[in-house]
Each structure stands twice: as structure tokens, then as C-alpha cells.
Amino acid sequence: MARQMTGAEIVLKALADQGVEYIFGYPGGAVLPIYDEIFQQEKIKHILVRQEGGALHAAEGYARSTGKVGVALVTSGPGATNAVTGLTDALLDSIPVVCLTGQVPTHLIGNDAFQECDTVGITRPCTKHNWLVKNVNDLARTLHEAFQIARSGRPGPVVVDIPKDVQFGTGNYVGPSNIVHKTYKPKVKPDQGPVRQAVELIASAKKPIFYTGGGVINSGPKASQLLRELVRLTGYPITSTLMGLGAYPGSDKQWLGMLGMHGTYEANMAMHDCDVMVAVGARFDDRITGRLDAFSPGSKKIHIDIDPSSINKNVQVDIPVVGDVAYVLEDMLRTWKSLAPQVDKAALKSWWKEIDGWRAKRSLAYKASKDVIMPQYACQRLYELTKDRDTYITTEVGQHQMWAAQFYHFDEPNRWMTSGGLGTMGYGLPAAIGAQLAHPKSLVIDIAGDASILMNIQECSTAVQFNLPVKVFILNNEYMGMVRQWQQLLHGNRLSHSYTESLPDFVKLAEAYGWKGMRCDHPSDLDDAIREMIAFKGPVLFDCRVAKLANCFPMIPSGKAHNEMLLGEEVSDEEVGRAIGKEGKVLV
């Protein structure tokens, strides 16, 4: 039933009907009518960030930790352009986000009006879809479509650009039911032919591996459950990308750890030597495959993905299965149970023996120290002291992110939020704010680097205003560690601008924002300090002084294959300097 409302009312009504609890936003001239509407209602809570970039990452953190759509609201011009990084981040990691942008009134569009920018033009390549709504009667429908497109199929960010006159204008409201999109109908249920072929191939494997990714998380908790069931039923080893951590328990014995550039030796070697690879919701990204022509040369590959364009993009596969991971796994399990295949137990046993040999290399080992806190040790202690709690972890980008992925183990999906595809420094603090809002009683920790944390440090204010007790655990090495590591590897250790001079005093900075500031620089004090951080009721900025020059290992140098890994304990600094050849140097 159509009801007359103003455009701004339509926005709030549509959000409410979509079940939105929080909007992360920042006001400005072109969104004032919507802000006025926000002021006059109580259903939806507006979280005022301190920069629009923060709003987008907070929406991502909220979305990733709940499986719901995150919502951001920004003004025209600079508000919209500040949102671009977060939109791109959400696109690359397939995070459902709806971003509403204000726009100058329709009659001024194209006039270089004050705070005008071509928002739909700028955001076209960094959204799943976007709309400029020129007629208030199209607004409700467009908003409902926006939510539908953001969350269905392969999720992603969308932008709805709303000119100010449309917000003031009066038009019809329609509810979300019965809105069926004309063209957009992603295929979620798989064809049974490939499902059966996949099951048969899996059953016949002698050296199998499951390689899983963020798609399992995006598919929802059921997908993780089904994955666990299938993996346990087969007894096969499993690894995952950075984005997929938590879909399978990190403490399980079939778990090989993360794979890829900084993945474990056993995971990468098993990928290289396997005879059947089952890719589930993962996209064969270059951080995973290393050198493509040497990627798992002897294996038959099954690829389960909801996005047909991900299949055969980087790696040719033998059995593509297009569909939502949960549906596909459900069908595979059913087929598996009805065929009741006999796996080759003897082959599997010797495969596990081989894997145990690789495990024995202890590729994550590092030189322990009694005098300085090793960053790996800090992550380990943080894990040990928080693992029995209800914890959510976010990260910034750099070495600390990789150490967090290596040493913090996740037993549940949606507990780990990191910027994988885009690698956006400044993601972690706002993402933690989004996650904390969704889970007010939980412990939310941003594992950060000293450089990254400064990129969105202003969001400390947001945490205070909304009583969000997030913890920021800075592995402070005074360097942009990951940049320094690459300079050591590639550029003769000439550390061009990777030392973060003039760092702030993080304790004072924390206090200036109204946070608790802490510092720890000795391994023997670390446990107590972490306990103190956890016990504190409000937000804490923890300046953990770690070894300055530690490198993140193991590592597949750029341009090398999975079986050409560098292991931390075995290589000298000179070898590190020589590890990447001429061809690898041009790569990122």
C-alpha cells in the first residue's frame, strides 16, 4: 500500500523496514533533511564517526561480525569521496554495505555546484551497483533493491545517491516485500551433475586438500557447519585464505593453518603436492597462488563459488560448481552419504605422514627473546589470554596483520575482520567499533601497527561517545614493518621513509581522547599487562613495544612457487636480500 512521505522519511522508513539498527554517518549540507528525520525518530541509532572513511569501515566491521548489511550515510562531494576507500575495500572482500550519499539538488547536477561530485561516476567501479535517484517515487524501491543486491549473491557495497530536493520532495512509499529485481537473480543452488562429479573426485583422492576462503564466511554460519561436517567425514586436511579464517576451527588437528604468501609451510606444500584440490569460496588470488605456472601442478581442481566470473579467472579448474557455498556443501554431503564412498585409507595415511613431515619444520617458529617482546610472542600471549572469552579480532595492515593471522586461532566464523583484498591501513579501529556495537558484551580487539593506527585514530572519539570498550593492541616496532621488510628483500635494505619518525606518545594520546593508555616493553610484564587491558571496562590503547626489525616468515617471495618458501629460522639477512629475483621485483 502506497503512503505519501517526504524523501527523507522514506529513507528512514525503508531502513527500518530493512531491519537496520545502526547507521554510521557524518552530516553535511546535502543530507540535512535525512539528519532531521534521524533526529525525530528513535528506532535507528546513528553513530557519528569522525571521518567518513571510518563510517565505511565501521559498517564493514558490523557487517562482517553479524552477517547483516552495514549502513553508512555521508554527505555529497567530500563526504562521498572520503567513502571511496571503504567502498573499494568492501568490494574486494565482498562485504555487504549500503552507503547513502547526499547529492546537490537535481537542477544543479552537472553545474559544478558547491560540494558536487559525480558520485555515481566515481563509485561505479568500486561498488557492486549504484543509483542516482532523481524521482522521489523511485526512492523506496531503489533502497530496497539496494539492500537486496548488497546482501545476495556475492555480497558487496552499493551506493544510493540522493539529491537534496528528492529528500525534501513528497512521494509514495512501498515496503520491501514483493520487490523482485528485474535482472539480478544470482544462482544459489548448484547443478547436481557437477556436485556428483565433485564428490566422486573427492572420494577418489589420494592426496586431497580443502582450500577455503571468505565465501564460506559470507555464505553464513551454516556453511561453516557443513564444511566442518564434510571435512571431518573425509578426514582430509584443510587450509584457508586470510579471509576464510574461522570457518574451520583453528585448533583442530585437520587444520594446516593459513596458506599463501605468509601461510604455513605445511599448507603451501600440501597445496603444491596435492592430487585433488577442493576450493570452497576462495578465488585463487595472487597472494595465494604465488607463481601461477607452478601452482599445484599435479592436481585436479574443484572450484565452488557463487560468482561464475571467479571460476577459471586465474587458474583453470576441472570441476566448477556454481552456487552458494551452503547449498553446495549441503548437496555434496547428501550425495556423499548416499554414495557412501570408500576413501583410500592407506593413501590418506601416507599423505598425512608427509604433511606431518612438513609440520615438523615448524615454519612459524621464531627466535624467542627474554629481553624484548617478539611480535609473534605478543600475538601468542594475546591469544592464550583471550581464547576462552567471547572475542572478536580486527587488524590493520602490515606485519602485525600476518602475525595475528598466524598466531591467533579462530574457532568460529565472523570473529576475524581484516582488510584482505585491498589491504587498507586504518581499517581495524573503525571495524572494531562496528563489531563492538553489534556485540556490546564481547571483547573486541584491534591488533594494530604503529603506522596504520594513525590512519583512522580520530575514531577514538567515536568509541568514547558511544561507550564502546574496544581495545587497540599496537605492535609498535616504530617502522612500517611490512614496507621495511620488502625494502630489505628488494632494495638493498635502503629504508626509504619506512621509519615512523616522531610517533606520538600513545599513552598520552589515549588519555587525550579519554581512553586508558598502557605501555609494555618487557616480556615478563606482558601477561599482566594484557590481563589489565582485558579487565578494564572502557577503551584501551595498548602500546606494546616489540622487536623493531623482526621479519614476517614464512614467506613465498614474489614470483616464486609454493615449494620455494623462505623459512624464518633458516635464512640469514643476506639470503633474505637475495630471495627475490629480477622478475619478482616488479611484482607487489
Binding site: 557492486k128 595472487d286 597462488t289 601461477l292 605456472d293
Partner: protein, 182 residues
Amino acid sequence: MTTPNAQTHYSGPAVRQDAVSRTLSVLVDNEPGVLARVIGLFTARGYNIDSLTVTETEHEKHLSRITIVTRGTPSVIQQIKHQLERMVPVHRVHDLTVEGKAVERELALVKVAGKGDKRIEALRLAEIFRAQVIDTSIEHFVFEITGKPSKIETFINIMTELGLVEVSRSGIAAIGRGPQGM
């Protein structure tokens, strides 16, 4: 023509595949920005466009048909198809070259200026190509020619010698043979 496998930024002994030419017919909702979206996809992902035409074909249903002639290795062509298919306003994508025996036509307007024998020869050849004169003075003709792109190409090449001034081409319109639609 062979191009190295462009799907990876990891160099290495490239997997070489021959590039092929394909005509894709894309049925889209005629919403604002849809052409920019399609073109943006091609530039962002480094695909080729040899020819592109677009117009609304069914007004009531707001449908447009975009005909794209592109070139790439078979795996790139498959990617292009999938990438187009996942765009929200895209209804369907058909590879007319692979689905067989599509009809392809193009229209060109060709301006030729000259006097004397060259002028007479231009007119004689135009007749052979079934090109029509749609504008003329005592020193020029504008010919309208329709046909397969290869025919138009040949006609333009010949006219180059006979005083070709300029050419405007419509790009390719293509449609599958037989009673079914796409």
C-alpha cells in the same frame, strides 16, 4: 595473433593462446549509466573493444542491445562474458560468433571529393558495391554503404585512392539467425 596470458601479474613462461575475435550481444536494462558501466568494465580490466554499438531496442520494456566486437584469448572472452553477466542491469549475454552464423551488418557514410576520371571511377565502383549517393555537388559525393564490415573495409580502401575525405561508420549491428530471439 598471440598474446601472453594476461590473467596474472606473475610473469613466467606465459601460457600462449591465440586471440580470437568475437561478437557479443548484450541485452541490458536501459537505465542511466549502463553504457558507462559496460565500457568501464572493458577499460578497467584491459579488454579490447573493436566496435561497439548501443541503442534502445524495445522502448516499452526499457531494453537496449549493446553489440560489442572484442578480441582476446578464449579464456579472456569467457571472463568478459561472465563479467558482463554479473552486472546488475544485464539480462543476457550471447556470444554470437560461437553460437553460430549470426548476421552482422554495418553502415558507413563515405565522403569522396575529386574531379574528372577519378570522380567517374568512384561512382562506377559505388554502383558495384551497391552504395547509394545521398549527397553530391560537382566536386564530391557522399556514399551510403551497408554490408559486412569486410565489404565496407574494402570499399573504403578503394576510395582512398579516389579522393576519400572522411568516413563515419555505425559500428556493427548483429543478430542470430533463425526464429528464436536471445
